[in-house]
């Protein structure tokens, strides 16, 4: 007797792992070139958005007054022709006269003089400029009315240019990506969590409960979305959390209907009836049989919902109902960019590239998932 139990334990250890439908779907998805490329793009964008701002030398809200709306460039700023006028203007502000100026690459030395004694704090005027750093003053003449100042020229890179307040657009685009992706994912998550549970319960219980639950959905559907968001903003002020609650609270309606439809057909399936005949309660049937079998559809819908939510957020931000300055999102950046498109096209182009490539990637992944999860040749 003991030997058979031992044998059984041995078998338990060496049990063959089966291939679930999810495994099959994953293989099919990985065979889909467009979907795999899209996933790589999406992961790259996500990593850039979440890690990029930490590595960037600029803060997303750091204003460079000397670099307002400078074009995108791989060359460092300041440009050679910018340095001399800036030195002159800075020193004029310090009320000293420049007698002699030598500009080398990376630093400059100037002999300055003044009718009064030169205050060593002149260097602060220089350091205050975004172009220079490490200013020092030495070689005072005996009467302290002339001296030599030198300072390093601060080299800065603005790969995406700067916006109309002189903030680095690259950092801002990446920060905006954080906001957009987070809202996209969180709002979708909220929508799906509510929608799946609501739809599955409504569809499975059926009858009067279903009728009541679905009428509630119908009523919510008839509320105009923008009106709803404006109301929320008026009552609670503009707020990041509010954004995805608002979006999620509207988008779950679709999800609930989709899942309800799925559930209606699933509950006629024999495996659900078999579970009922085993005496499994409603919660068990929903948890083990209904919801796992709707997940295929849900995942597909999710990849289509994320771009929809990102667009919605962009739309709200475009209208001025979204996130607040200096925090930003792709929608806000694009809206600013579109106002400046004539003089500063880069302000529109870069955020747009990020937004559209993310949306493209998500849509391709959605398509790939649809093919992978319900292949027609089965």
């Amino acid at each position: 007797m003991t030997s058979t139990t031992d044998e059984r334990d041995l078998k338990a250890a060496s049990a063959v792992r089966g291939r679930s439908l999810w495994d099959d779907a994953r293989d099919r998805l990985l065979a889909n070139k467009a979907a795999v490329t899209s996933m790589v793009v999406l992961v790259a964008v996500a990593i850039a958005c979440f890690i990029g701002p930490l590595l960037s030398p600029h803060d997303y809200d750091e204003v460079y007054r000397e670099y307002v709306k400078v074009p995108a460039s791989l060359e460092p700023y300041p440009r050679a022709d910018q340095v001399t006028p800036e030195i002159e203007s800075v020193l004029r502000r310090a009320r000293v006269t420049v007698d002699e100026l030598t500009v080398e690459s990376g630093n400059f030395t100037a002999r300055i003089s003044s009718p009064r004694k030169i205050d060593p704090r002149v260097t602060r005027y220089i350091d205050r400029s975004d172009l220079f750093e490490n200013a020092e003053i030495y070689d005072f003449s005996a009467d302290e009315k002339s001296a030599t100042v030198r300072a390093d020229v601060k080299t800065l890179y603005f790969f995406f240019g700067t916006d109309s307040n002189g903030r680095d657009l690259m950092t801002r685009t990446l920060i905006a990506g954080r906001v957009s992706l987070t809202i996209g994912l969180l709002a979708t998550f909220v929508a799906i969590a509510i929608g799946v549970v609501y739809g599955a319960v409504s569809g499975y219980l059926g009858g009067r409960v279903d009728l009541l639950m679905m009428r509630i959905v119908d009523i919510l559907y008839s509320l105009p979305f923008i009106f709803f968001v404006i109301l929320l903003v008026v009552f609670f002020g503009r707020n990041f959390v509010l954004m995805f609650i608002a979006v999620g609270a509207v988008e779950w309606l679709d999800m609930a209907r989709i899942v309800r439809g799925q559930t209606l057909s699933l509950k006629r399936q024999e495996f659900v009836q078999a579970a009922e005949a085993l005496g499994v309660d409603n919660a068990g049937v929903l948890k083990r049989h209904i919801i796992p079998n709707t997940l295929g559809q849900v995942v597909i819908y999710m990849t289509l919902l994320v771009p929809k939510v990102i667009l919605l957020e962009s739309f709200l931000s475009f209208l001025g109902l979204g996130v607040q300055e200096p925090m930003t999102s792709w929608g806000v950046l694009i809206s600013e960019g579109s106002r400046n498109v004539q003089g500063a096209a880069w302000m529109l182009i870069f955020p747009s590239i990020f937004l559209t490539s993310t949306l493209f990637a998500l849509n391709f992944i959605g398509d790939g998932l649809r093919d992978a999860l319900d292949p027609k040749d089965r």
Partner: protein, 543 residues
């Protein structure tokens, strides 16, 4: 010898060295490995084999109907021309016109949105060069040819207004529209009731005699072969293992596989159970009614699916409930298990459980179980076999640890002769017979008293059926189970049941001891059922 002769006479359809491979993510599957099959004019050839033997894929490949990942090699000669791998445009001149096909499932082969007339006429107008008025006339002729009652009325009807047998007749009419040379029938009667099946077979035989076409009949049922075929090919694992004249092949099979197929009739009779055993299940004046339509202004319409049925089952007994589809036998089974609201009384082991609520029923569910017909639909596709089998334990023994449940799963899988190593696999990785074993294991893990078996063998091959019948018999003997066996398959019922109840239109037509009913049926309906079933089987059981 005669086989050679027909070949020389010039076959209408000649398949030579056909191979079919499927590319799957897990490697190449060789579905058909070099098959030679030929059919001559006016001849009926049957291809016999179990599911997965490649019999359907052979003909699908010949017709260019394979799934996308299929590859073919060899030759398919239609009147001497190789049609294998022809572009769809040229193939369509032959396929659907000169070589036509009818499928197993008459429910899904017709488009529910169009009238029968439209569906019959469209291919004639598109491919046959008929005008619409000529096509309509021809459609009527065809329906008369396939002997549909009141064909004029049926032309204007939609598919859902026809019964399964009538739909299959329409499909046959459709395939005859352009005077085909070859008719390929892929299990055309498998989804039908025995009585309907017999009539469809008669029709096919009659049509062939009159129209003189060649018929390729794909089936797993040797009873049909005996009745209809001139020559037989037996296929196994993608190869033809035996071929020959139907008569000689069926009476003196050479290959062991053919012998096994012929021997697959469920055997044995059940030993009677003494009358003094306690009554397990008792139903008195049971009725189940469904609302069908009616509404605000119309009077509600009610369909009585089960009408005034009374039955008693004693411990260890098997009650067979037989009848055609729509006779209410499945509904009765579900009503007895309190899965449907009903009128009348049901007593289970002395408790009155009539219309008991879900909560009151839960402790009793463990003792009364249900096995379904469709082994593909009754297992949740996203759960492993181990999870499926032990789900009942989650409900009825919530205290068990995961390890303990796993152990029980192993034990019960062994009991239904499945390797417990397989318990982490998913249902789609199993064959139909194995799935049915899993479904049985799911009920056995709870050690029930009563099991309602709703057509548990109908979707399976004969040989698998026999194994399942053996398994059910063994489990009944080991655990003293009581069965309620619902089936339209009289041979299986005869092998398993002590008592038989014949149902028609929701009422009991006749009930009594199994042998008494089968040997001396009293009612016409019972006689008709038995005649239809044994018409197919008699020559074989005579062996």
């Amino acid at each position: 010898m005669t086989v050679k002769d027909t070949n020389d006479r010039g076959a209408v359809l000649d398949i030579r060295r056909l191979t079919v491979d499927f590319d799957t993510p897990t490697g190449t599957v060789k579905a058909v490995r070099g098959v030679d099959i030929s059919v001559s004019k006016g001849e009926t050839v049957a291809i016999v084999g179990e599911s997965g033997s490649g019999k359907s894929q052979t003909m699908m490949a010949a017709m260019g109907l394979l799934a996308e990942n299929g590859r073919t090699k060899g030759e398919v000669l239609y009147r001497g021309d190789d049609i294998l791998g022809l572009p769809a445009k040229r193939l369509n001149r032959i396929r659907g016109a000169k070589i036509t096909m009818i499928f197993q499932e008459p429910m899904t082969s017709l488009d529910p949105l169009y009238t029968i007339e439209r569906q019959l006429c469209e291919p004639m107008v598109e491919h046959g060069g008929y005008s619409w008025s000529a096509a309509k006339k021809r459609a009527l002729e065809l329906l008369q040819l396939v002997q549909i009652p009141s064909p004029e009325g049926k032309l204007k009807g939609y598919p859902h207004e026809l019964s399964g047998g009538q739909r299959q007749r329409v499909m046959i009419a459709m395939s005859l529209a352009n005077d085909p040379d070859v008719l390929i029938a892929d299990e055309p009667t498998t989804a039908l009731d025995v009585t309907t099946q017999a009539r469809i077979l008669e029709l096919l035989a009659d049509l062939q005699k009159r129209l003189g076409m060649a018929v390729v009949f794909i089936t797993h049922d040797l009873g049909i072969v005996r009745q209809i075929a001139d020559r037989v090919y037996v296929m196994k694992d993608g190869e033809v293992v035996e071929e020959g004249e139907a008569e000689s092949l069926l009476t003196s099979p050479k290959h062991p596989y053919t012998k096994m197929l012929l021997d697959a009739e469920p055997e044995g009779r059940k030993d009677a159970v003494p009358d003094n055993r306690p009554i397990v299940l008792e139903g008195q004046k049971l009725s189940v009614a469904f609302d069908i339509g009616g509404g605000f202004l119309k009077a509600p319409q009610v369909l009585k699916a089960v009408d005034d049925v009374t039955l008693t089952v004693r411990e260890g007994q098997t009650l067979g409930i037989v009848g055609e589809s729509g006779s209410g036998k499945s509904t009765l089974g579900r009503a007895l298990l309190q899965l449907l609201p009903h009128q009348g009384r049901v007593r289970f082991s002395g408790h009155d459980i009539s219309n008991a609520g879900k909560r009151e029923m839960r402790p009793l569910r463990r003792e009364m179980q249900l096995v379904f017909q469709d082994p593909f639909g009754s297992l949740s596709p996203r759960m492993t076999v181990g999870q499926i089998v032990t789900e009942g334990l989650l409900v009825h023994e919530p205290g068990l640890s995961a390890k303990e449940r796993d152990k029980r799963a192993c034990k019960v899988l062994e009991e239904v002769s499945l390797d417990p190593v397989m318990r982490n696999r998913y249902p789609h990785e199993f064959s139909g017979g194995q799935r049915q074993r899993i479904a049985i294991a799911r009920t056995m893990v709870l050690k029930p008293k009563l099991v309602v078996l709703d057509e548990p063998t109908s979707a399976l091959d004969r040989t698998i059926q026999k194994q399942i019948v053996e398994l059910l018999r063994k489990l009944q003997a080991d655990h003293g189970l009581t069965y309620l066996f619902i089936s339209h398959d009289l041979a299986v019922v005869r092998a398993l049941a002590d008592q038989v109840m014949v149902m028609q239109h929701g009422r009991i037509v006749e009930a009594g001891e199994t042998e008494a009913i089968f040997e001396h049926p009293v009612k016409d309906y019972t006689r008709e059922l038995i005649a239809a079933a044994w018409q197919n089987l008699e020559p074989i059981s005579g062996n």
